[in-house]
Symmetry: C2
Subunit: 475 residues, 2 copies
């Protein structure tokens, strides 16, 4: 970070200014054809005389970086060779802490140059992009002053009313006043965890579980307790029960509906049993339901929240899997921890962005969300079925794949000798991103496993990618 | 949180369903004139027979809550007396922890029924509401798939380029690749603090300082060290220097430009001295510049970041004071802590909302931001001058008021016998919110002080409010 005033080797002022402008050009802040700051502005900003400013621009002209235009000032010249793109963020190695691996995976998934099987993100062409953006445009045009002002926690009334109606579909009667809107489910989880835990506390999670959750727990200084989890029916409640007899657990965080990464669905009776078990121990249950609406069967299962008669269930979800990840709209229903979660929001982001909230509320109220969900569930079901078939066909003998009843994630278990981290690197070299099993546990349990996203419509391109992955895994 | 399946006193199923629907009506989820869920939907959701569902609706009709319409199902009836509003969030008492007081103040400020002198928020009629919302609408219409997708950290290229140009005005040459966009300055501060501290660390701050900062520090388990601060020239660097000789400080968090609440402006030489002092001790400096663009004089001061040649300065700001608090767009320039801050963002909110980012970038690039800033600075200067005069006129003899050279906050010191918390309660009863001095220190230092916001255009209404406050303070 250079600075004008503290350069270790003092240079003439005009050279310091020329270097600063040259850096702006090199960094792409000033682009070819753009006007540079005026001589007057340079004088003011750096407290130098007009002659020093002129000297700096003569220097820049000499270096071939700017050109004067008659009566208009200086402009950035087109470089002789094509301008390089902005330098991207530095690559994180896929190694070290979970946070590092999380960042590394996201760099790979979202670099735009890969077949992105490593994220748990719907592809944009599946989402109701046009309708949603149009709704946001309409809300922005008509919101007036309200659109630019804070929508402080608990957030938009209109949205909370719509969420309250949707919660009914999972069997939970929740008043709008019990809901807090959030910047996505990530913030909802963070607020709920902050409401019920202190650093050093123990949180029971499914194993394997979503690396984003493990990263959040690490960030908050919480200890992770991995509970065995069935790929069909979710967290093993008898295993949890045994653990609770032996040690203190301060909270339990579960994805009962189409879990990440297993795609497991906990049966309603098991959910009720889980809620009752934790109630008996006075342990808060954080329920992450981001995939809950994406069931392949005709009916939505009940939520754990629907069995909650003591306020110990903290429900978290978002519209990132069903409508628009980039709008950053989610919610928390923190039960008896409402007060603490709402306070936590004040230090976290202060408020959820107003207009995206209103757009989502409008979409739910007027744009046929249920109709749209019915069609998108079919697409995901089709994606999952075809992807599963292709994996079983092309991966080495002995490979097994989960068979989820909702969501869009597959968990692939390869023969024990295959190292998923090596496969990750080799696949990335071929332009394919996957999520290696290493990320889903702190205990190196899933080194021969992968999570594959089916968030993109099936195509020959995906078929070819799975063939390539299968070949690489078979080496 | 009632539930169908675990009611302590088992009721007939039809009564449970009727109660649940009645609650939805009472909570305002289902509003007068709206269609209720259909009989078929009720059967599906609760797993009951059609006759049970019918019985539930007969019960609701008997209670006068719904009415059948021919061939259209049941509708919520208009209540005999006017419908009550949605219950608001519970009021927090202005007492107890700082978080509690923070929440209580915000409840008061943003209830919509008060003259809001207690927030540090520009009033919407001062902001370029129409132009901004139009820009957002335009971006939403043209963004296509990009608009609904994640814009993962570091965030929008277009916005980071614009921010890089603006940083030049404060004398700092910062490449777009050094910037991370955030959900407002609150998130930026949180990410920077998480990047440079561990729970239990000591952070030096101005005294008095913004309660939002004290709340964030409390949340992160950090210890606060309050450094004496001059109302004109900001944190006393010699006082800080003495402290650093005696005890370990892990980070320093300062608002050098028009601080909150004092409105102090640190002279450029003092900024440089502060940066050098902290560099000598290898202590990260977090610079909060949210008011930096709102100078009353002709020139913007330099930022501490402009004196940073070691990457130890972490710069935070937002567009919440100048454009749109509700868009939630801010940024961090974490210097050598870039990697850690970017990782922290992944667990915090994952990404900044895409379209608000693009709208702000578009406003900066095309909508005459500088021109607009020039006009808004005049408004704030006028507001501050008039408010200051009115306070000196109407408050008890012995009252002093700061005379800031930018921003829109005034710090009022009343005679020692006046208790600001009592005044807060009495003022609120008269429909006026203020920020009592108790909030700006953990050490009960400012119990006879107030922060008054001048974010609203001067008017007879404000004049009357100040008269009332003065009278209440004089009792």
């Amino acid at each position: 970070m250079p600075s004008f005033s503290t350069s270790p080797v003092p240079q003439p002022l005009y050279l310091q200014i020329a270097d600063a402008v040259a850096k702006l050009i090199a960094d792409g802040v000033l682009r070819p054809g753009e006007k540079t700051p005026s001589l007057r502005a340079v004088c003011d900003q750096h407290g130098v005389s007009m002659s020093t400013a002129v000297q700096a621009f003569v220097e820049l002209e000499t270096r071939g970086l700017v050109e004067p235009r008659h009566k208009s000032g200086f402009f950035v010249k087109q470089p002789a060779k094509a301008r390089l793109d902005l330098p991207g963020p530095p690559r994180f190695p896929m190694a070290g802490s979970l946070g590092n691996m999380h960042a590394s995976l996201f760099d790979a998934v979202f670099s735009g140059n890969v077949i992105a099987l490593g994220g748990a993100v719907p592809s944009a062409d599946i989402l109701p992009t046009v309708k949603l953006n149009r709704m946001l445009a309409e809300k922005a045009r008509h919101a007036g002053e309200r659109g630019v002002m804070y929508d402080l926690p608990p957030g938009s009334d209109a949205l909370r009313r719509q969420i309250s109606k949707r919660m009914m579909k999972g069997g939970a009667v929740v008043a709008p006043s019990e809901i807090i809107t959030t910047c996505g489910a990530t913030e909802a989880l963070m607020l709920c965890l902050r409401a019920v835990t202190q650093p050093g506390d123990v949180v029971a999670v499914e194993s394997p579980t979503y690396f984003g959750i493990l990263h959040v727990l690490e960030t908050l200084g919480l200890r992770v307790l991995e509970i065995p989890t069935d790929p069909v029916s979710g967290m093993k409640i008898d295993a949890l029960e045994k653990v609770l007899k032996k040690q203190r657990v301060n909270a339990c965080l579960v994805l009962p509906a189409f879990s990440n990464p297993l795609g497991a669905s906990m049966p309603d009776e098991a959910k009720q049993k889980l809620v009752m078990l934790l109630k008996a121990h006075e342990i808060p249950l954080i329920e992450d339901d981001v995939f809950g609406e994406l069931h392949f069967g005709p009916k939505r299962g009940k939520t754990c929240k629907s069995f909650d008669d003591s306020g110990l269930v903290l429900f978290c979800s978002s519209f990132s899997k069903t409508l628009a990840p980039g709008y950053r709209v989610g919610w928390a229903i923190p039960g008896r921890f409402y007060h603490a979660a709402r306070m936590a929001k004040l230090t976290h982001t202060l408020a959820t962005p107003t207009l995206p909230e209103l757009a989502i509320a409008g979409f739910l109220a007027e744009a046929g969300y249920d109709h749209w969900l019915r069609s998108v569930r079919k697409i995901y079901k089709d994606n999952v079925t075809r992807m599963r078939k292709a994996i079983l066909e092309h991966f080495p003998a002995g490979t097994t794949v989960t068979s989820p009843q909702g969501g869009f994630l597959l968990w692939v278990t390869m023969p024990p000798k295959v190292n998923a981290l090596e496969l990750y690197e080799r696949a990335l070299a071929k332009g394919i991103s996957i999520a290696p099993g290493h990320l889903f546990s702190l205990e190196q349990r899933y080194t021969n496993c992968l999570r594959i996203s089916c968030g993109e419509r099936w195509s020959p391109r995906l078929d070819a990618a799975i063939r390539t992955l299968g070949r690489l895994a078979g080496r």
